[in-house]
Symmetry: C2
Subunit: 498 residues, 2 copies
């Protein structure tokens, strides 16, 4: 059945995708395309409907103790390899969702296997330190050869965290402390009695009514502070108390970009002006703004490098910190290691948060004044997890060894071209194609989006959405042109079924 | 030097601690006290002043990239074993702080070594799933044989998290969603247009002004929602915006308890009345209360089981959820697996949060209505970490194999008796001794607390404080009577130096 499925895919591809076919006559054997994973299957394999019977039974069992209503599929990770995820029923899908954009170098990556089996890993797992108090002797080395080796230009320090939400929230905390320190007149200024007392009852001035400004449709996490900056969907926010913080408009660009250059520039200008107005006028003063290089959960909304340079200027001009949330965009997916590398900023962001593909989390910063003026102000028991920091180090090593950022840039261009051809062929199903020159961080809108995603599995791919109507591609960094061919074939297959 | 140090300890102990000595003539060879770790040192070993030269150099190097102002010491975990932590200079300390109360079964525990080296661990580390979407096939099994095997009585479900802060915050979120669901009239009721719109701008009714009530001196974490319930110290809260949530008084008990029974009961009654008044009158309605069984960061403040039963009654009477924060008290340290097991509640807490000694985190619950009414309302990318869930499973196995909760209860009683004797001998240095019958979760106040802690290292112990004036003991569950003897000797040694 699997073989039949593959040949049917190829047949249709031959019939309908001549432009792709000419470039990739024998896509799985292209000489220039040595597969990173020699043991990857040649393509998806479907042996049951998805979910199959074993998946259904296991989901019912899990449901007794764990909410499974958001379940996509139960996976057999021991049988997953590279870009392919296996389920319990023997189905194997090309995974271009990759654990919500968080697997960078493939399932069962051999180099990470070695990292996982190292004695360094074992000691990190079983002797978990309180990193602020009792870091291991080699913590500095682990940071410098790992997390900090990948640090964005101009940022040479890190506060480590556990996931995207607390990475952002600790960055916000640093921003608030910095803001108040400036107001007080420097790090040496002591807190007043009134501050010491009022903060214990959650009142100003000790707990000041300051704010973080985010952007409409932005997503920055789901804990209370991060959720107050998240503006993606009501379902993320309903019933949860939130801070009275401002949101600026994020540009709503029209595609194709080439055809709407002036309109889009005006739209970005409008958003910049409104952002600056809010900073100047919001009743709870803005200590920092936080922005994603590409709004991800909110629907894969892009803006130009000029827009982000403009934001940077506004923050400088208004003494507001500039936090770039690279939780989803970071670690290579856009064809640069950090998405904000595309912007050519004159001064680096004040803080850059990371998680997901880093498999650990935190925020980078450069200005030493962003270390709060006293110890224990930015602190918690674990402050991250060294075992996950070791995994990130392994990921960085693998990215360097295989030039995976360059691969993602090249594969992304190739994939984008293929999608452009499909968009011409099926304009009603492939609208607002975006992410050109942004590696594999590509998306498009489609009217029957949810149906498209469900049908993905029947076409051999695990694929996700974002926002209300976008299909988002989030393949791993080891996604190659021959995988792109399979994806393009599958996309066309799905479109024909809609 | 180390040998000289040990014999000096013994000499002084002989000279000054006759009561202890009579019980433990040859403490390290007591027949009934087979050591859990055969390779543990016989006692602390000091070869340099602490911090020694290597420690200082490593700290200076780390400081380039990571804030070290809260540094206690850099550890050499490869040389740490059981209850003993080694530093870079060859010093070995008896560790009764245990990574801020988070190491349960000893450094380099052999059983955890095996868990760390398992293929299950490797696949969890390198194929990290988005647990809400793509859990591994065995996730249900891992939960049932691990996290849920240890579930508090009456609670059979779990939402997994990363650390104490997000465990509490996700519990708060569940409470808010539940509260609003009751207000709406049930899970099938749809959100209104007004809610859908207002939540996107952080306004009521979609983002309602509800509250979580916590207790004065309580500690529940340092992210924005959890920090709004934290009332431990100004340094934890200053400059960070907070929600306008109420705090109830926590009983301030007098010691020894036997001598102040009536006074203490009245104090608890006063606090209960005030708690109920706040629930009824606070301007932002209270969806849940959160309380620690023993206030830990806030100074090791205890209350009686009757107080907590009273709180449970108040929550029932007022339709408010009862969240017990067992982040620091849970997993055996109080001589029961969960500290609230001491209370004999008629109905279990609505949610119990855990972290620290569990080495993973989350909240337990029993009522299925605490699952939000729609998927993706309680969700995030990772929702915990299966590799850490495997470690917790190993910890539970080790606790069962060695009966470590019973050990902690017995060792705690033994240690408490020894401290009572010291308190009689040095009443000015050992005040308000507390934690009787609470395993090793013991503390006392001492006027020169910070000096006491610093001198601990010179006496061979790594020991921590809580609140303004408490020395808190947080040994591991493998802490045995012969370790208690060493600790008692060290405490006396320190007192004599003050």
């Amino acid at each position: 059945m699997a073989a039949a499925f593959r040949s049917s895919l190829k047949l249709r591809a031959s019939a309908r995708l001549p432009a792709v076919r000419t470039i990739t006559t024998t896509p799985h054997l292209r000489a220039a395309e040595k597969p990173y994973f020699s043991n990857e299957p040649a393509g998806p394999k479907l042996v049951t409907a998805i979910p199959g019977p074993k998946n259904k039974a296991a989901a019912a069992e899990l449901n007794e103790v764990f909410d499974v209503r958001s379940l996509n599929m139960l996976a057999d990770y021991s049988k997953s390899v590279g870009n392919y995820i296996a389920d319990l029923d023997g189905n194997v899908l090309l995974d271009v969702y990759a654990q919500i954009a968080s697997i960078p170098v493939g399932y069962n990556n051999p180099h990470l296997q070695k990292v996982a089996a190292s004695s360094e890993m074992a000691t990190s797992l079983i002797n978990r330190p309180a990193l602020g108090n009792f870091p291991s002797a080699d913590w500095s080395h682990v940071l410098k050869t790992g997390i900090l080796k990948a640090a964005p230009k101009g940022l040479n320090q890190v506060f480590t965290a556990m996931a995207g939400s607390d990475a952002n929230e600790t960055a916000y905390k640093a921003a608030f402390m910095y803001y108040r320190q400036l107001q007080r007149g420097g790090p040496e200024k002591e807190f007043t009695e009134e501050e010491l007392e009022s903060t214990m009852v959650n009142q100003s001035p000790g707990s000041p009514q300051l704010s973080i400004m985010s952007f409409k449709a932005g997503f920055h996490g789901r804990l209370f502070g991060s959720l107050s900056t998240t503006r993606s969907k009501p379902i993320h926010k309903l019933d949860i108390p939130a801070f009275d913080w401002p949101q600026a408009p994020f540009p709503s660009l029209k595609y194709p970009l080439e055809e709407h250059a002036r309109e889009n520039a005006e739209e970005e200008q409008r958003c910049l002006q409104e952002a600056e107005r809010l900073i100047k006028e919001w009743h709870n003063p803005v200590a920092a703004i936080v922005v994603e290089p590409i709004q991800s959960e909110g629907g894969d909304n892009h803006a130009s490098p000029a827009f982000f340079r403009g934001l940077r200027e506004i923050t400088k001009r208004n003494n507001v910190l500039f936090i770039v949330d690279e939780v989803q965009t970071g670690v290579g997916a856009t064809g640069k290691f950090w998405a904000h590398d595309h912007w050519n900023l004159e001064t680096p962001p004040d803080m850059v948060t990371f998680s997901k593909k880093a498999q650990t989390a935190g925020y980078y910063f450069g200005n030493p004044a962003l270390r709060p003026n006293k110890p224990y102000r930015q602190f918690n028991t674990w402050m991250g997890d060294p075992s996950r920091a070791l995994i990130f180090r392994g990921i960085i090593e693998e990215i360097e060894r295989l030039s995976l950022v360059e691969n993602t840039a090249a594969t992304g261009d190739y994939l984008f071209s293929g999608l452009e051809r499909l968009a011409k062929q099926y304009p009603e199903h492939l609208q607002n194609l975006r992410g050109k020159g942004q590696g594999t961080f590509i998306a498009w809108d489609t009217p029957k989006r949810d149906e498209f995603l469900v049908k993905g599995k029947g076409a051999g791919i695990n694929i996700g959405g974002s926002g209300q109507s976008a299909v988002r591609l989030r393949p791993m960094l080891i996604f190659q042109k021959h995988h792109a061919d399979i994806l393009l074939e599958s996309v066309e297959k799905i479109i024909k079924q809609l």
